[in-house]
Symmetry: C2
């Protein structure tokens, strides 16, 4: 009904007795326009609540100021903290974000890349779906628009990648256990060689080696799809060992919580008999009893830096694509599951 016509450049031009092009340049601070007229134009523009028509603009400049973000699963708490950073940073820099879930489905993932490009996003930020094989479609995206990877990354894709220092974080976690007097530390990890799992395992190994502790295959457990239940089951296996471990480092919080549940069930004293450390700082980690020691991943910071790199690449296009890994520091949060007063 109230058609609330937005004011356009034409309106401003008419009112100021200038040409449309001059008004446009004035608003964009083009040096061809004298300072005085620039100010005159801007004054009226704000007075009339002029806001540029984003379509006409994007239509001309092929820039939409919209970013695409693809995550495997939006319900993971860690993901949402990243999204918080993504949203706030991009809004600060004048961009909006459209989000999609790949559900760890590679087909869907490439579909999304396509439609996002079709929707004209200026750049894409994504965490790879599990077991992403066909790098091709992703590489194709790259000579269309900038791409930045985070969390789930791949060194086969030449772009900037924002991750945490998995290896060091795991090293610190295991070292912490060693410092509390533990000498036989089990690990629960993924079989499937995900980037994160591999790095964390390396950190685990380095910590043991540097502290001259033996590495025992029997307490290095792997599972295909790591989860709370798998954590439980594998912990049961550990408990049935003749030579039980005195600590468990689980590569993910859910597995760690499963471990605690299993230990609780068999009345194993935590952390005295067996300590537990997880990874991610889920909300759950304070719900479980005893509360879980874990590696905190600063999600917001990851999101913010990933976005800032992406926007930088959009606004200052580089000639060559190169892999650049940005590592965000994590920090260990010690709680009751590993705390020895």
């Amino acid at each position: 009904m109230s058609k609330k016509q937005n004011t356009t450049l034409k309106d401003l031009a008419l009112a100021l007795e200038l040409s449309i092009s001059t008004v446009s340049r004035a608003l964009n601070d083009h040096p061809d326009i004298s300072i005085s007229t620039r100010e005159r134009v801007k004054l009226l523009a704000t007075k009339l609540h002029y806001t540029p028509n984003l379509f006409a603009k994007g239509f001309r400049t092929h820039r939409t100021h919209i970013l695409g973000v693809i995550v495997p699963n939006i319900s993971h708490y860690f993901t949402t903290t990243i999204l918080k950073g993504v949203l706030s940073e991009s809004e600060n820099l004048g961009y909006r974000v459209i989000i999609s879930e790949s559900k760890n489905d590679e087909i869907k993932q490439t579909e999304m890349l396509e439609t996002m490009i079709q929707f004209g996003v200026d750049g894409i930020l994504m965490a790879l779906a599990r077991k992403t094989k066909s790098i091709d479609s992703i590489l194709q995206i790259q000579n269309r628009i900038p791409l930045v990877l985070f969390d789930k990354v791949s060194d086969k894709i030449p772009c900037t990648q924002v991750v945490i220092n998995d290896e060091e974080a795991a090293y610190n976690a295991v070292e912490h256990l060693i410092n509390t007097g533990k000498t036989r530390i089990a690990i629960i990890k993924e079989t499937e060689q995900s980037f994160n799992s591999r790095k964390r395992f390396e950190g685990y190994l380095r910590a043991l080696k540097e502290h001259n502790l033996p590495i025992d295959e029997k307490i290095i457990l792997s599972t295909e799809d790591i989860s709370l239940n798998k954590g439980k089951m594998l912990t049961n296996n550990l408990l049935s060992l003749k030579n039980r471990p005195d600590a468990i480092f689980a590569i993910t919080d859910s597995a760690a919580i499963g471990a605690i549940k299993a230990l609780n069930k068999f009345n194993v004293e935590i952390p005295n008999e067996i300590a537990v450390v997880g990874f991610s700082n889920n909300i759950n980690s304070t719900i479980i009893n005893p509360s879980l020691s874990t590696v905190d991943q600063p999600g917001e910071k990851i999101g913010r830096t990933a976005i800032s790199y992406l926007i930088d690449e959009i606004e200052n296009p580089k000639e060559t694509l190169l892999t650049k890994t940005v590592e965000i520091k994590t920090n260990l949060i010690v709680r009751d599951s590993s705390f020895v007063p």
Copy 2:
């Protein structure tokens, strides 16, 4: 480098020796164009991977096929399940979604409404920020584009609102406690009269009345900002009562978990001495020990129906704005915190 020019209507027209307008109409199934040419055009279009330039299109039609979604906090698990539904349904119907967080800040909320409109969204879906006062700005939005509310709604805004049947859900939860033999049921709710809290309280009262149980003000507890810690504190209060309750109905899972933590601390047997029921079916509800009985809110369904109503309004504009409340059924999940074999 490889400028990968997208094919345009012009290209098709040239190749087919037709005019641009005919090609356009053919692709849009305009009756003026003969079926045979329509097919010819479409064939070549798919062969050449023609995809319409969304900007030019939006520029002309003032339609972007982008929806705006505003939520108070993206990190709430319940919110993410809703978003799952929102994303999948809108993608099915050919729309994309841009998401923003209001952080329960009313100022930010109205800002976001503004910039979303500026970005040309076709419609907006939102959950109100807590204590939203100035309905004005929202009403203003409404005569620009369609608006649908979900979860946190207000009957002062004439639009369709998708919510759960709070009253009935609470009724069922309390009735369940009564059926297990409980007769003195406390409630932990919000003071601030949020829509949800009020409705759930009404359900609580109705359940007691219909089962001829007395209503005792001393076990009706309220808090301004409901949380895990508040749940703990209020439960401590309940425990210090001479006449303790034999069950607690907390209006939110976090408060219920706080209650369980407090009960565990004082070695109160759950559910025999005091049973607990929460509301939301957080992930946490299975982490806590004993596991929490709670009301499951089908987030995905809420998201999907909200989106489908929104898109319907976009594609079939109504003349008059009217309040229409759509209630989604919940169901009670009984776990150990209230289960009596």
